[in-house]
């Protein structure tokens, strides 16, 4: 992990030093490293886009999950399920196509697509975490006089945290890969490198774009897993 992280940092800091690695994949003396936009800058805006989208879908999915597990919100469960699963099954490319005429080119349509795409995992895991709690714990919390809000904050959410983190992990990893298509509608992401590679038949570009996204995805995956482990270790 640490090695992969260091390699990524070194590559982003000075992509030129790695031309030897990508040169064998170019033809007719084409450049081995994408230089139109600095790779570190694309990586940063890619990550920002993903972070904003994941934060937004986590927030909305969490609130939805909490609402539909309250006695007064239970009747909205089927509706919330439908919204989140349509969000996941509707292709992000189609979302882009629909959003561009409304929002114009840029980061907006991509954010919407990632947001919708990422709702389901956090929502379903929040639901599972909040409803699959041992009956005795719920009973004890009620019996000792915790109010519904106190039960939610002091018992239900802390106990559901590892499962919710797992949902966030799925959302983050999916969004990281999906964000690349944002470059087709002028969002600044690492997809730009891949698309440039496709258009100019430059395999080296495609590969370096994919490599950066891949390494970051693995690191995010591991990071969330470590967080979830930390959150569940205390409860044994």
């Amino acid at each position: 992990m640490a090695a992969a992280g260091l390699f990524l940092l070194a590559f982003l800091a000075s992509p030129g030093s790695f031309s030897w690695l990508f040169a064998p994949m170019t033809r007719n003396g084409a450049p081995a490293i994408y230089t139109q936009t600095p790779l570190w800058s694309l990586t940063l805006s890619h990550l920002t886009l993903v972070a904003v989208a994941v934060a937004a879908s986590t927030l909305v999915a969490l609130v939805l999950g909490v609402l539909v597990t309250r006695p007064s919100g239970r009747e909205f469960l089927p509706l919330a399920r439908t919204i989140t699963s349509v969000g996941q099954t509707f292709p992000p490319v189609a979302v882009l196509a629909l959003a561009v005429p409304v929002m114009g080119f840029g980061a907006g349509p991509t954010l919407v697509a990632l947001f919708l795409y990422g709702l389901l995992p956090v929502f379903e895991n929040t639901l599972a975490g909040l409803t699959n709690q041992p009956a005795q714990i719920r009973e004890a919390a009620r019996g000792m006089g915790l109010t519904p809000a106190q039960r939610l904050w002091q018992v239900d959410l802390p106990l559901a945290l590892p499962v919710i983190l797992t949902g966030m992990r799925l959302t983050a990893v999916i969004s990281l890969g999906t964000a690349t298509i944002g470059s087709t509608v002028a969002a600044r992401t690492l997809g730009e490198v891949i698309i440039a590679g496709l258009l100019s038949s430059n395999t080296a570009f495609v590969l370096q774009g994919g490599m950066v996204v891949g390494i970051i995805a693995v690191m995010i995956h591991e990071g969330f897993q470590a967080l979830a482990r930390l959150a569940s270790r205390r409860t044994g």
């Binding site: 005795q136 714990i137 009973e139 004890a140 919390a141 019996g143 000792m144 006089g145 915790l146 044994g236």
Partner: protein, 305 residues
């Protein structure tokens, strides 16, 4: 004091607790006993309004509990359940501190109370305060569950089969400890159990329930000598009656002048223990520590109604 007046709970029109009235005096233990599904848990949970009664009233120290916000009522009533229900993400100390924190006790008072309770339950505060529940044995978890229920010094404690998950040896010790702590604190205790032996051992009064109805509410000796219905009799188990009766009285109570040989039995050993000792050691009389003897003849008299 708990007064239960004509308490009824219906689910879909079907009574699960059916017009039950009984009074538990201050500082006494009432054991609710009956077969599974007889409505014991429902009756218990109506006392702290985890279940809302269909009709009837519960008064605690004369005050109708129906007029108190349920979560505030519950903070005044201790509640311990089978399998303890400890919060797995909180330390032993934080678990015990749950209700005092809800009641906004000052932090130093809470800390002192946690240590006091751990000591009361024979757990070293320094060793246990910061442990997580999953790091404890079943018996220790159960004790923490009861300590948590007692944390805010409630006058009333409700327990639903608190010893159900313990193995027999640990259970006997837990029962004896509970009895002692309850006497020491003067807590009024309502305890649900399906085990008649436990009800006889712990109850000052026993309430026998069947299909939601209260069949008999009386002290153990009366339940044993004069069961109100064949069901009560069956629940006691006719083969156990003499032994249950003997278990209610300590040996020194029936000790008389006389002479006996062999190892003496402790003063507060029950007559049941004395009988077992007579049979096992082949003696007709046993000396009692501190003077007097218990004879087999006296035991025989005590074993019948």
């Amino acid at each position: 004091m708990i007064q239960i007046q004509h308490l009824t709970k219906r689910y879909d029109g079907k009574p699960v607790v059916d017009d039950v009235s009984l009074t538990v005096e201050r500082g006494q233990i009432a054991a609710l006993v009956g077969t599974s599904g007889s409505g014991k848990t429902t009756l218990l949970r109506m006392i702290n309004r985890l279940v809302m009664p269909t009709s009837g009233h519960v008064l605690i120290d004369g005050q109708d509990t129906g007029g108190i916000a349920p979560h505030l009522l519950r903070r005044r009533i201790g509640y311990a359940i089978q399998g303890h229900g400890l919060f797995p993400h909180r330390t032993v100390g934080q678990n015990i501190a749950t209700v005092p924190r809800l009641l906004r006790w000052p932090a130093d008072e809470i800390r002192a109370r946690v240590d006091e309770l751990l000591t009361l339950f024979q757990l070293d505060p320094d060793a246990f305060r910061d442990r997580m529940p999953h790091e404890l044995s079943g018996g220790q978890q159960q004790r923490i569950g009861v300590a948590r229920a007692l944390a805010a010094k409630p006058d009333v404690l409700l327990m639903d089969e608190p010893f159900g998950a313990l193995d027999p040896v640990i259970r006997a010790k837990a029962q004896a400890d509970l009895r002692q702590i309850q006497r020491q604190l003067g807590t009024t205790l309502v305890l649900v159990t399906h085990d008649m032996t436990e009800a006889i051992l712990l109850g000052d009064q026993i309430a026998v329930m069947d299909q939601g109805r209260l069949l008999q509410y009386a002290p153990p000796a009366e339940i044993l000598r004069a069961p109100a219905t064949p069901f009560v009799e069956a629940l006691i188990g006719p083969d156990m009656r003499p032994f249950h009766l003997l278990s209610l009285t300590p040996a020194f109570r029936i000790a008389t002048e006389g002479h006996a040989t062999g190892t003496p039995i402790p003063r507060d050993a029950t007559l049941r223990d004395a009988l077992a000792e007579c049979l096992w050691s082949g003696r007709d009389a046993l000396p009692v520590e501190g003077g007097g003897v218990v004879t087999l003849t006296a035991l025989r008299e005590r074993a019948a109604p």
